[in-house]
């Protein structure tokens, strides 16, 4: 029996045209039963291997699963080597007798065979490593990035979500409903804005292309973080889940005051909290009622030349900054002249630069001035004169660092401000620019950021309008915390500017804000925009000056002077705020 078995085995071996496997053990961890038993049997029948040792080597390995294999790489290698050694010791005679039976087909010694698989192992690990990284990246994307990524107008799937989720509400900071979806019995839903045109530019509209918060928070409004069990029950019973609510930082009362104060003028008002970056109010006129946008759409589009009610002037309206730019000129002067406190100038009502005459407002003769008083009285002659003496390159750098020509950290679409003075500019243009005319353009929101930074010791906080997201029963899903954008100027510079801005209120052009129980600070501006006609009325400011709680940026288009038209709006807002 043994003899014939031998023969059979021999036949099997040579018939298969293999060289006799000189491995007495496995080097991979994937022995399946067939191969290992074949090996066992063949070597047993040759009488050169005892079953136990072989079996041990095999079954231990045979039982290892691939998963454990890859994670216990070191142990496996060690085990391999151990088994190799065990096998070597006990079966040195194996090599001898086995080799006799080797066919001479492939003259490769035992070590090489083992070696080839070692390289294969390395390759396997490399690939498994690649796959692990791949899956890690995928997982990371799904966990961390996807929420922000998919909230994009190019992602049409968001509308699919609306089929299964009732759009959430947008709320004011005290829970007032600014936007909500109302469903009638037939399942038709309509987006309703209880405050009509009051918040239309910041909250946005739903029909005819989403804007504002309706756009930027679209995905979150269509996501429901209700109780998971409730969600599954709803899904299975074909009921829609209720989307999350967006709680904004908007203060309804302040928004109303700003809205009413702006009246029938065109313009914009921005109210911010300098210490946190929260946007408390944003008004832009002309505006429209988002509830009726579909029916008045034709008018809105047609009238875009004259009225442009669709534009959010706070973020997209570019205006010459007028005298509010003297803040920048003054800052640059201080940076270039350590002895700015000793600055002196005598104003005789105007200044002539290369045949171009710049007059002070109403031809007022300011007389002998230092920097602070010139700033408070907004003397054009002084600042035009200062401008011509500034280093154009340094001035450009300062403006860049104040985010002119730069991306602004805003959570909504906006236009970049522009400042284009350079070394090739003429002195006339320099003088114009120094007083906020020339080619410089700024948006009301950017001006608000600048004044917030000054109010906050030079540090600009990132503006945001979404305070937190909560599910429809009020549990907080995520909260936005104030975060620093960066330092726009040193705190010393901010202090000096703030000081000068206090003087503007107490002794200067913003006198309508003086004598209040709160100390306000700011700068007026009257920006001319075409020769002859009236000017845009600007005011930027904050209060209380020693520990600012609100900052404002106001522009009233074509109305007149900042003192007459913008400052009173600031007063109404601040009065309301500080009467609480």
């Amino acid at each position: 029996m043994i003899g014939s078995g031998k023969k059979k085995q021999n036949k099997k071996i040579s018939a298969n045209d293999k060289r006799k496997s000189t491995r007495a053990y496995s080097t991979d961890g994937f022995m399946d039963e067939d191969y290992s038993s074949y090996l066992k049997k063949s070597l047993e029948d040759e009488g050169i291997f005892s079953s136990e040792e072989n079996g041990e080597a095999n079954t231990t390995q045979g039982r290892q699963s691939q998963k454990r294999y890859t994670s216990n790489k070191q142990n496996q290698k060690r085990q391999n080597r151990k088994e190799q050694n065990v096998a070597k010791q006990d079966n040195r005679n194996v090599k001898v007798s086995v080799r006799k039976m080797q066919t001479t087909e492939e003259p490769q010694p035992m070590e090489r065979k083992r070696g080839a698989n070692r390289e294969i192992l390395v390759v396997t690990y490399i690939f498994i490593g690649l796959f692990v990284l791949l899956l890690a990246n995928y997982t990371h994307f799904l966990f961390a990035d996807s929420k922000t990524v998919i909230n994009n107008t190019y992602n049409k799937r968001q509308d699919l979500l609306a089929e299964r989720v009732i759009r959430g509400q947008i709320l004011g900071k005290n829970g007032e409903v600014l936007a909500q979806t109302v469903e009638d019995d037939e399942g038709n839903s309509k987006r309703v804005y209880p405050y009509k045109d009051l918040f239309v530019h910041v909250v946005g509209r739903f029909d005819k292309g989403k804007t504002g918060i309706e756009l930027s928070e679209n995905f979150n409004l269509l996501t429901s973080n209700a109780n998971p069990i409730e969600k599954i029950v709803n899904e299975l019973s074909e009921k829609k889940n209720v989307g999350d609510n967006i709680v904004t930082t908007l203060d309804v009362e302040l928004q109303k005051v700003a809205y009413n104060a702006l009246g029938n003028h065109k313009g914009a008002v921005v109210v911010m909290e300098p210490s946190t970056g929260k946007i408390l109010a944003m008004v832009s006129k002309p505006d429209y009622d988002p509830n009726r946008v579909t029916s008045i759409w034709e008018d809105l589009i047609e009238d875009s030349e004259k009225n442009s009610a669709l534009i959010n002037r706070a973020t997209q309206g570019l205006y010459p900054p007028g005298s509010t730019f003297k803040i920048v000129t003054a800052l640059e002067y201080m940076r270039e002249n350590e002895k700015y406190k000793k600055f002196e100038y005598t104003c005789d009502g105007s200044i002539t630069i290369n045949d171009m005459k710049i007059k002070c407002y109403n031809n007022k003769v300011h007389g002998h001035l230092d920097l602070k008083t010139a700033f408070a009285k907004s003397c054009n002659a002084t600042f035009a004169s200062i401008g011509t003496k500034l280093s154009k390159t340094a001035w450009l750098n300062t403006c860049d660092s104040l985010l002119f020509n730069m991306d602004l950290p805003l959570p909504f679409p906006y236009k970049k401000s522009s400042y284009t003075l350079d070394t090739s500019s003429s002195d006339q243009l320099v003088a114009q620019t120094a007083i906020g005319q020339g080619n410089t353009l700024i948006t009301p929101i950017h001006n608000a950021l600048l004044v917030s930074a000054i109010a906050n010791g030079g540090t600009l906080m990132k503006p945001y309008v979404v305070d937190h997201i909560e599910n429809y029963v009020g549990d907080v899903v995520s909260k936005n915390m104030p975060s620093t954008y960066g330092s726009l100027m040193s705190s010393k510079e901010a202090d000096v500017l703030a000081d000068m801005m206090i003087d503007v209120v107490n002794n200067g052009t913003a006198y309508k804000l003086s004598g209040k129980k709160y100390q306000a600070a700011g700068k007026t501006g009257s920006a001319e925009f075409d020769s002859g006609s009236s000017s845009h009325a600007w005011f930027v400011g904050f209060a209380p000056a020693d520990n600012p709680e609100i900052a404002v940026s106001i522009i009233v288009e074509g109305a007149g002077t900042g003192s007459d038209y913008a400052v009173p709006i600031a007063k109404k807002i601040m009065d309301t705020y500080f009467s609480r």
Binding site: D32, Q66, V123, L135, T139, E238
Partner: protein, 431 residues
Amino acid sequence: MENLVIELARYIIIILLTIYTLYCFTVFRSSDRKRQAKKFNKQIALLYVIHFICYLVLFLETKNMQLLILYMFQIAFFAIVLSVYKVVYRNLSRLVLNNMLMLLMFSFVMLTRLSISLAIKQFIIASVSLMVCLIVPLIIDKAKQLENLGLLYAVVGIGLLLVVLVFGRTQYGATNWLYFGGVGVQPSEFVKILYVFFIASLLSRNYDFRQIMKVSVLAGAHVILLVLEKDLGGALIFFITYLMMIYVASHNPLYLFAGLGGGSVAAAVAYKLFSHVRVRVMAWKDPWGHIDKEGYQITQSLFAIGTGGWFGLGLGKGLPSSIPVVESDFVFSAISEEFGGIVAFCIVLICLSCFIMFINIAMKMKRNFYKLTALGLGIVYGFQIFLTIGGVTKFIPSTGVTLPLISYGGSSVLSTIIIFCIIQGLYVRNK
């Protein structure tokens, strides 16, 4: 009621596929053949159930009778393949067979959802391929000379690539299509196999420096031709396969490092030289900045994957058609969108399981030629998966390669099935 079924189906598919994937990795824990067989049978059962549920959902949504007919044919297909292959390939790797059918099943389902005419074409191609490949074990047995034809393989391969370069038609930026009266073929998919044979054949006999140089020159010719055809993904796959095979054949890690170094240099040069490389890298780095042109495809893919989340939007409920080329390169995104991240994850693991089995089989091969062949084909398969999925998930720049077996594409399906069958054939013959 319908909606209930469709909603429940989503969760059931996830659970079943997770179980299937777990089996892939735990089946070899027990060395008891009977237990293993049981697990394999369970896998087949899971395959049929998932297949049924998917088609049920699709039918409920579209009410298209064609679907039912296609479904019947597919059931027959699975049943026939499972039974015939076990006979022709005695003692084949059942795990590889199951995985192959599972991946094909997802391909059928997803293509049915995207476009039923594509699904039918894919089904026909798969059926024909599997029929044709029944002769593979025969060839391996009879044609002993296979391993000596190294140079012939190389010459034919380079020749085919040259033909494509000169006469080929450009699609999606790569000139790697030949059209024979309306039917498009991608010869590079088949050259892949010849290429592996050539390297395996030359290196199995002799791996001294001269031979390696010979191999390198010929392999380099392949890679350069592919680069000229702007098939960057193909060039990468060929290069990495060559590198790994050289490393394994020569047992010398120096080649590996040298190759990787050389490859990086070549990549940098390619970046400087070719604008289409720069475009792809730019689209990878910042697709959001170019969201309406170069970055459109990858951003849509990310939208799809992200909106689907872990549980998916539901079969038929997503918007996969917003992704360009979704039926071939980006089919993974469509699967992730509708079936969910868990299912997509499992599919990657199933592909990984196939790759590991291929390597395992390579390790078991006794003849060097077969060992290298199995290894080479495994790497071709594994690396292509990595490139595809990496590209659609923005892990690496998109390289324009398909997901084997799941993407639509006759040449791709046929060549992948040939690869699977060759490896099965080698595995079977080893006994």
